[in-house]
Assembly symmetry: C2
DNA sequence: TTTTTGTATGGAAGCGTTTTCTTTCGAAAA
DNA sequence: TTTTCGAAAGAAAACGCTTCCATACAAAAA
């Protein structure tokens, strides 16, 4: 039943060409006549041929695989990031090996030089402070390394300007009446990794507010793990501190969702006693009428993949930094017309 | 600088044997003299040799890789599960390709027959209802499939008896004074996957309580996502419902942690107004004095890996089911001597 | 002692590709 | 017309393993 997969030889035979030609078609080599290429393509289609990746690897001396090391905290973020990465890599017939940092101990194992993560052609690391854990802040590999959603002067980096995002949030919220509040996202793993994303967003927010003549007292910042329920606790906390109206900037859309849940439970009304601004720009925010700072996550992933492919192909220049900026999307939750009317 | 990795030929030469012998040593073939094996092993050590996995794959016709498909909800659980799986697979020089179900859309992609997940020698699937999503409830692959932390009559399965765990929880808590409460864990992804783990634990708890002549009203069950903060909201909820003492069974240790946090904030005292029993038996529960139903997670993962290796080696028998039972660990949070004394 | 059996080993063949080396052939240059 | 050259394509040589086959040799059986 399980008939063997067709090989390059069978394709060559059916297309009446040599295996070299088939290989050239496979690798988009220029010197193949159009007519021949089509014949080979047709043969591949009728046989249902797909090249054996392992054979490629041993023959080519490369693995055609890229390791992606990433924490798995905000799953939706990483889902979208991978989307962008995969999109680019798939075009070049590269595969992805995923190394989720499920725990610090697993992380250490990945970083041992012998580890699987280094058997590949390159490393895509999505974690702010990972390098800090390493001796000399350098990944123990000869392979190219590119950081994504993280920055280091030492490696190519594609990163988000989180501080700017916070400032944009401030600029948008500052002119509303009422006090300013913020929810900072902080995971346990963040401390290990010295991940400062959540912090930067809030710092930017505070800076922006100061520029607008407003302030953000320490007590108006609620630090929470990354969970919907954290948003609920945050709103409870704020309500104990001050009277409405509240202007709340959350370090992530998910937390804003929790705030919305609690708003409902408390019988408040968004746009009246509460203005709420998220961060991420996840698709579902549209349906919830949540204003948010949309991150071009997929593009950031794609760019990181491009940087890495460059390096794999031998590019030697000094580290390149690609900065990305969030975009403000205004929806019901911060609609100007819904001016405070209590 | 980056000198080529040594090959099997260099090892053979240094050890003064043929490459066949080196390969045999590599694969634990029995017919190698002890003395020869040691010589080869020594040569490998001095050269720092490690076999090229790609070459192995193309020569052997196998990939020596196993796909592990898993949701990434309770990271600690999966971290430990992988630990167990890897331990066994590593012994046989098998590698793991991880496919975290970050989102339903990615899940679908994995399940396409052509997908990477099927390029490997076998599939280890850790997800209750994944099969339900598939046409015919069958994974579209010729490769062996083993379920872990999930059960299907169709495939080899290594699974936890969650209902029993709930019953054990009831048996332990029932004799304490005060009403019974429970926190059920439920993720959005669970619904997609028809994952009933959280539900089973609570159902078992209810059954056990009934057997002991106690009851668990619907209103005493708080359904929460998997987060620490969910535990805090749950306790708030319970405190609105009833007076102490509370006996709380949480579907996961993490939620119990949240309960503990809120207990402190509310100025309650564990062992007096509150008895608390978790589920998972994660290492950190010891330090927190949290009683819990410890799951043999690593063993379950290891057994699943063994079942899969069996199949990969050609075992053809009908599906095997391996049931695992949690163990009750009693600590301060449900200590008998701390009898309610209000 | 001679034959048989079995174990340990070396070496060649083969896995499915990529890549290099030729060879062929037609068109441009002489 | 002859020579030169480049493009297209076939054939062969890697790539680093596993596996099979043949051989050598020692121990067991005759």
């Amino acid at each position: 039943m399980a008939k063997r997969k067709p090989t390059i030889h069978e394709v060559a035979h059916l297309a009446r060409v040599g295996i070299g030609t088939v290989s050239r078609v496979l690798n988009n080599h220029p010197s193949v006549r159009h007519e021949t290429r089509n014949r080979v393509l047709a043969a591949m289609a009728t046989l249902g041929y797909s090249p054996n990746p392992h054979a490629r690897r041993v023959a080519g001396g490369k693995s055609y695989t890229v390791s992606v090391v990433l924490p798995v905290a905000s799953t939706e973020f990483y889902s979208r990031l991978l989307e962008g990465i995969e999109h680019i890599l798939a075009e070049e017939r590269y595969e992805i090996a995923l190394f989720p940092i499920l725990s610090p101990s697993r992380l250490e194992r990945y970083l041992e030089s012998r580890s699987l993560a280094y058997q590949t052609d390159g490393l895509l690391v999505s974690s702010q402070g990972l390098a800090h854990l390493l001796p000399d802040q350098k990944f123990p590999t000869e392979r190219p390394v590119v950081l994504v959603d993280a920055y280091s002067p030492r490696y190519d980096s594609a990163f988000m300007d989180n501080r700017l995002g916070g400032q944009m949030a401030a600029q948008h919220l500052a002119h509303f009446p009422g006090a300013m509040f913020a929810i900072q996202v902080q995971e346990e793993l963040d401390e290990v990794l010295k991940n400062t994303v959540g912090q930067e967003r809030i710092e930017g927010f505070r800076e922006g507010l100061q520029k607008a003549g407003k302030s953000l007292p320490k007590s108006h910042v609620f630090v929470s793990r990354f969970s919907v329920e954290g948003g609920r606790l945050a709103l409870q906390h704020f309500m104990r501190q001050a009277k409405p109206p509240y202007n709340i900037f959350t370090g992530a859309d998910l937390l804003a969702l929790g705030v919305l849940e609690e708003v409902e439970r408390q019988g408040l009304e968004v746009g009246k006693q509460i203005r709420l601004l998220g961060f991420d720009g996840h698709p579902w925010t549209a349906a919830r009428g949540l204003s948010t700072l949309a991150q071009p996550i997929e593009e950031m992933g794609a760019e990181a993949a491009r940087l890495l492919l460059d390096r794999i192909r031998g590019y030697k220049g000094s580290p390149r930094a690609r900065r990305f900026e969030p975009t403000l999307i205004v929806r019901r939750s911060t609609q100007p017309q819904g001016v405070y009317a209590d």
